[in-house]
Symmetry: D2
Subunit: 500 residues, 4 copies
Amino acid sequence: MKRPDPQQNGGEAFVNCDGTVAEAPRLKKIQFADQKLEFNKRPTKIGRRSLSRSISQSSTDSYSSAASYTDSSDDETSPRDKQQKNSKGNADFCIKNIKQADFGRREIEIAEQEMPALMALRKRAQGEKPLAGAKIVGCTHITAQTAVLMETLSALGAQCRWAACNIYSTQNEVAAALAEGGFSVFAWKGESEDDFWWCIDRCVNVEGWQPNMILDDGGDLTHWIYKKYPNMFKKIKGIVEESVTGVHRLYQLSKAGKLCVPAMNVNDSVTKQKFDNLYCCRESILDGLKRTTDVMFGGKQVVVCGYGEVGKGCSAALKAMGSIVYVTEIDPICALQACMDGFRLVKLNEVIRQVDIVITCTGNKNVVVREYMDRMKNGCIVCNMGHSNTEIDVASLRTPELTWERVRSQVDHVIWPDGKRIVLLAEGRLLNLSCSTVPTFVLSITATTQALALIELYNAPEGRYKQDVYLLPKKMDGGAATRSGFSLSRQNGVFVFFVL
Amino acid sequence: MKRPDPQQNGGEAFVNCDGTVAEAPRLKKIQFADQKLEFNKRPTKIGRRSLSRSISQSSTDSYSSAASYTDSSDDETSPRDKQQKNSKGNADFCIKNIKQADFGRREIEIAEQEMPALMALRKRAQGEKPLAGAKIVGCTHITAQTAVLMETLSALGAQCRWAACNIYSTQNEVAAALAEGGFSVFAWKGESEDDFWWCIDRCVNVEGWQPNMILDDGGDLTHWIYKKYPNMFKKIKGIVEESVTGVHRLYQLSKAGKLCVPAMNVNDSVTKQKFDNLYCCRESILDGLKRTTDVMFGGKQVVVCGYGEVGKGCSAALKAMGSIVYVTEIDPICALQACMDGFRLVKLNEVIRQVDIVITCTGNKNVVVREYMDRMKNGCIVCNMGHSNTEIDVASLRTPELTWERVRSQVDHVIWPDGKRIVLLAEGRLLNLSCSTVPTFVLSITATTQALALIELYNAPEGRYKQDVYLLPKKMDGGAATRSGFSLSRQNGVFVFFVL
Amino acid sequence: MKRPDPQQNGGEAFVNCDGTVAEAPRLKKIQFADQKLEFNKRPTKIGRRSLSRSISQSSTDSYSSAASYTDSSDDETSPRDKQQKNSKGNADFCIKNIKQADFGRREIEIAEQEMPALMALRKRAQGEKPLAGAKIVGCTHITAQTAVLMETLSALGAQCRWAACNIYSTQNEVAAALAEGGFSVFAWKGESEDDFWWCIDRCVNVEGWQPNMILDDGGDLTHWIYKKYPNMFKKIKGIVEESVTGVHRLYQLSKAGKLCVPAMNVNDSVTKQKFDNLYCCRESILDGLKRTTDVMFGGKQVVVCGYGEVGKGCSAALKAMGSIVYVTEIDPICALQACMDGFRLVKLNEVIRQVDIVITCTGNKNVVVREYMDRMKNGCIVCNMGHSNTEIDVASLRTPELTWERVRSQVDHVIWPDGKRIVLLAEGRLLNLSCSTVPTFVLSITATTQALALIELYNAPEGRYKQDVYLLPKKMDGGAATRSGFSLSRQNGVFVFFVL
Amino acid sequence: MKRPDPQQNGGEAFVNCDGTVAEAPRLKKIQFADQKLEFNKRPTKIGRRSLSRSISQSSTDSYSSAASYTDSSDDETSPRDKQQKNSKGNADFCIKNIKQADFGRREIEIAEQEMPALMALRKRAQGEKPLAGAKIVGCTHITAQTAVLMETLSALGAQCRWAACNIYSTQNEVAAALAEGGFSVFAWKGESEDDFWWCIDRCVNVEGWQPNMILDDGGDLTHWIYKKYPNMFKKIKGIVEESVTGVHRLYQLSKAGKLCVPAMNVNDSVTKQKFDNLYCCRESILDGLKRTTDVMFGGKQVVVCGYGEVGKGCSAALKAMGSIVYVTEIDPICALQACMDGFRLVKLNEVIRQVDIVITCTGNKNVVVREYMDRMKNGCIVCNMGHSNTEIDVASLRTPELTWERVRSQVDHVIWPDGKRIVLLAEGRLLNLSCSTVPTFVLSITATTQALALIELYNAPEGRYKQDVYLLPKKMDGGAATRSGFSLSRQNGVFVFFVL
């Protein structure tokens, strides 16, 4: 969801395991062109940045707020046109600016503090090098957290080549630090679509080096290899996929009998789900609202639409800060929970006139429609914490009688003819991805799981995994663990992941 | 679990559907005899009461604290030896004292206030009489809440005969009110084992009346009919069973091919589980501790063993009251939740010397063993909220060097040679059943479910249900509902169950 | 407030310090007679009990729920007509039944567990006997907690004679234990007004013994000595007074120049205020509601009238249990706090139709008037946690068209002609005093303060205190402390009072 | 505290009311020189910015995170050397860049949303122009919130000239919007000390215009007029002062008999205190930590030093986010509250090795000393929420064996020889001022109070106020209000300030 998704237009072709092509992926280009057209229609002074952000459907520049400062004065030369070398003379990378390496190193060091499980894994398994001989090609967000993962994989014996899974999420200074450290990284913030696929290609299309493991986030890398280099799968031992979309594509391949290697779905582990939803959103709803609006929570009236894990996190956090929280929910079991947790269950139209903040967490479409927005009070803040950008009917606000004013990054005032304005955050996209950061600790859980999945697939004896999609063995998903597994543990009264 | 369970000794015989007996239930009597021997060994002044309480594994006299007041001066004549009639001359019942009917009526009226769903069902379905012709024999706790259920069943057209599923839990004044109202009730507080089966027999062994529906809680009534009157099943349309144990027995019957009629498992509905564990325990831990010890919660150090639903409820409640709560947990997912909820994870021996209150909620055996109790500080309160009476190793405290002092009902001081004493509640049995009340609202959910299950089984067309154990159709378990179903609804911002 | 208050009729006479009488206290008797008349007008089967409870304005029998069980079978002979001796042959006491001493001893031992500061004081100061030679006459509630205080005073060297400050609050078995232990106690549960003053007189009018310290709760003992034995003040070193009313009377005496000895106001210490209001009410609102109604809190709508310390405690507790809490408040600063704490501020009439529970905590009169009660929904629970019994206009419910039904102790159903009923608790008196217990830990704070005040006054050098009313020196009120003082301390991470 | 404070060096001279000078303020210059020397000693690449920040003792650039983005590419010409006019040709101002006016206008519009009381005052009093004829000279932070205040004063009839009270806190784009709107503003971000006084002088030293009201924040403006233009006080009707320091200076003047006009202390109103401490810090502790470290709160161990209002807010917020919070406190009453609120009381050295975050809120000096920092674990975050920058002994960290690394704005890693690093925020200055924003709603309360104080002083009849320091009349401080007063009100269940 965070990258261009060729699946969305349907009719996607995949190369079969034997190398034959089932259907040409022609629609893909058209789709991209369409998207561009749509985005270009919007008048914006922010230009290219706005475009890329719209394409990415989410901004991740907040992964490091510091990063953006240093970027602003960067030159506009495309990294593809630059000749750069690291201090050891290595030039097998393509990034924005190798000179930012020192700053990136600091970001990585900060991240290491909050990734105890990965650091423990690095320490523990360093001697036995469980990834010796592994040649991993990766396509994920290039952030400080990913850097900790890559350096861990390297410490365990692997060689890595890496591209970004999102054209906007790369932390340039982190990419610089990785390049300086000898990693072949091909990524920068603000890639064009062409850049995007070029970078991926540079990772796999290299003389004298062929990957035997894939770490993917979204399925684009996997897709590219299927399309361009299907024979590579003969040497590939497995795919580890992190995203909902990528997992979905793998299941489709598997169903169609076209999955050539075992794949590991790390998206659906219990711990990841809990962290991504309940625990993470409980903190990021506050963070996202503060960074965009500086609103005081105490005494505010808030309606939270939906009381799943995300809604539970949002409601609890705002209640704790002294807000008066109403909940809308149609599922009776969740409604029961909201009620027993002390939230007043309402229908949206009962409270829409009086609330100061509206938060959608339903996963449904058009939860907040124009009619409701017409009735909101002046200054009402509207944002989305759900799983898509469709919960708020933002399109219905793009009508001539309403004026849009971009007042800050990620903050629009939509102004009615009578002067009433509502405060729309992130244009209805996910607030926690657009306007707050995901705590490193949360990312650390995914990263650790990815590392373990790679180790497991790489070392699994013949026959343990077939050409299918697997969940991480339970022993590794927060439970008792084997040699390469990990477990939740308590040290000094505190919960940590640790490696057996 | 709340009644003698013949299953526990294994080898139980059941009459087959065709009336043949598979194996004689001889072991049963031996079991009871054994239990008596064991209990009689304990020196106690409370005599018969203590015996019955031990057998019942739980006291439910706290269902109505008021009830016990009126009992104290009662005579000791067995109800079986009394001749009583209600004001209309009816004598088809056997209870403690028909004169308590007025007081029981008040208890029923109080209960009605907190059972909106059942009252709504009564009102809604009264016209159509969906239970017209139903002859229901029941065996449940005889409490004000059951009375509301029985009067609802009657209002919907059913005839009822009822016995108690527990020799100690009957509210005598409620039984009196039911008898005065024309119900054939056979139950009193403090039945002997012989009384227990005699009462059940009086419900079913009656000339000119044969049940066509069974409502059971624990399986004893079902067991009795299987054993004594297997032919009755020819007319019986179904069994509704509420308890874990009874459901377990039904599944065994089903597996063995001996289940003659459809049965409905109302124990495992989502709403019931949530209410019985999380929501109910959150309140009853405070209630149970206060009623027994009057302890102030603020500033106390508490360790909660186990962080399942029960542990979550207990921890949250005590934290909210200003206690400092530690949690022990071995399951990593639950440990993770405890940690993210802000509880310090410990091993019991790390904190056992310093805590003021120890609460077990694990469902395991011997969580709190003698060694720990030796190290507790003077005045430490020890109680059990888990699912059995085995979490605290109470047997290990029955040694010569320790002195037991019964300081209040349900409260023992166990005194060490050096004068240190710990405060043991309910002899390690379930605190919430022994020392607090189950809110009527919680019971109302079970009762409503029971009523709906009876209606469903009684009215189901031929073939919908076979000789198997069913869960309540989802449409009734908190979801959208059919004619006879019910649903969670929001009225004026508040959650209620309502009947479609 | 918890005892007959002669001040309320005004015009009270006091003996001057020189022994002259300023005005005869004739009005007093009339007042009592009036009260009786009023109470007798109410038809009640409970008879004498109801009377005494009305006079006392609060029931404290819940100080020990256990106590009431043992009383029920007691004979009706007045203690004044009984001849009793303790096991050592001492007969200088008058109580209900010396045979209950063992049971009382257990209650005292339970109390000791929760009174660490007093036990520490006992231990610490036992060697130096700071009260050697002190002859203390006391008039307080006779409860297990008071017993711990008395036995501490005794351990520190004092002789004690004691009466009850309330005709209904005495725990008979505790009085028995004290008598058995050699204390001259004159008190039982259910004294008549004549008994009340007879008991006080027996404490002071004794040959060969004259008190030199007074410990009073309400001022009746002080009043009696002023009236009857004014010369006693020549030997009295000081008065320690605990109650609001008693303190008020002392200030009046002081203002009128008639206070003959120094007096210590222990009512207004910061710690006592915080415990009596915020911390104690936070727990007792839940306890009181549960014991009387067994109501489930989760999902209930509650309105709390008033957001002072008591309202803050009630609101926080119910919110934590999953209730939806509304607050009414007229003071803007408190309203601000309610708002910032996340409670919706309302006017009572906005929510009166929808709430399940109404709690008054304002300290004002007629907060809940008949008009509101007319509009409450069926089953609404109404109770008072404020500082008087006037917040709910109970008198307005005593009209012919409404039916009162006493359904449990302290619980009345008031029934409207259309069948609607509201649940009135404690007839509008203080719920926490009538229907829950005050945790021993809370009482322990008052008791420790009383002991320290006695020590301070008894040992103070000439001239430190004049004939005036003093607050406990700050060094003793939770601060740094002198030889006889105490301080809050942290032991093993937990707050305790301890004695220097 | 947020500006250079000449008082701190003592011996400050003031011009008497009659214009004679008591003592020459020579020390002042020396003091500034000293400060510079001290700050210059610190090696820093950030140069001038670092200097000014150190002088100001707090950074407020976070008032608008957006603002800083636009600044980065600004030229370095001093505003004093620029010639700028607004669109109407007016040039009576001195700011960074008039072209930023549009952007500043948006910030002001955002602020208006959260300042309902001020907007209501503007609307309500616009007709009567209670400030007609008022000539107000102001010296405060120049932020969007101040702009709303200034435009309100203008709407009520006043003329305004304004300087900044802090050399670093000015939002340049807001200053631009004010200049564009016709206000005579003299302020920019990053003034030198010389600039600072030059700007103040430009506000008062203007031909044909003489102020009759002073609105000051810190006392520098007042000080300047005393020093340079003492005769101006003849026409001045009063001073409104907001800061602790400024109020302190006024009281000193008053004590010395040198206060020439009435002054209003708006710092010590109850509502301001509550908002500035409890409510504001509850939110800003989370905000400040997130913006600087992106740390996840769930499961973290935190020690909060001090449990006053600030500590209460911090502790409650982090507890609600799932942190395990310890509290240190020496005041017994506050310790009692911490304990009853469920926090474990510790001594700092008991937990210093295990905690993840250390927060100081004591108001004392050297709470966290080097010895503690030596024992902290790797990655421990250390920050200050107290009232000064002295709680953390930062100086002790400036030793040769420790390496400082600036990893982000306001974030330093201090690295021990063994590689351990602690994360020091804002160099020990106030986290909430340096690294988070103060919600507009909080500022709105101060601003409203300032406006009301100006109205009151300006309109007060002769003799109501003498040459003394006054608190705002109670009727205005959250209470019932007169013509010019305001009150807390509830509208639709929500608390707002409103103007009578």
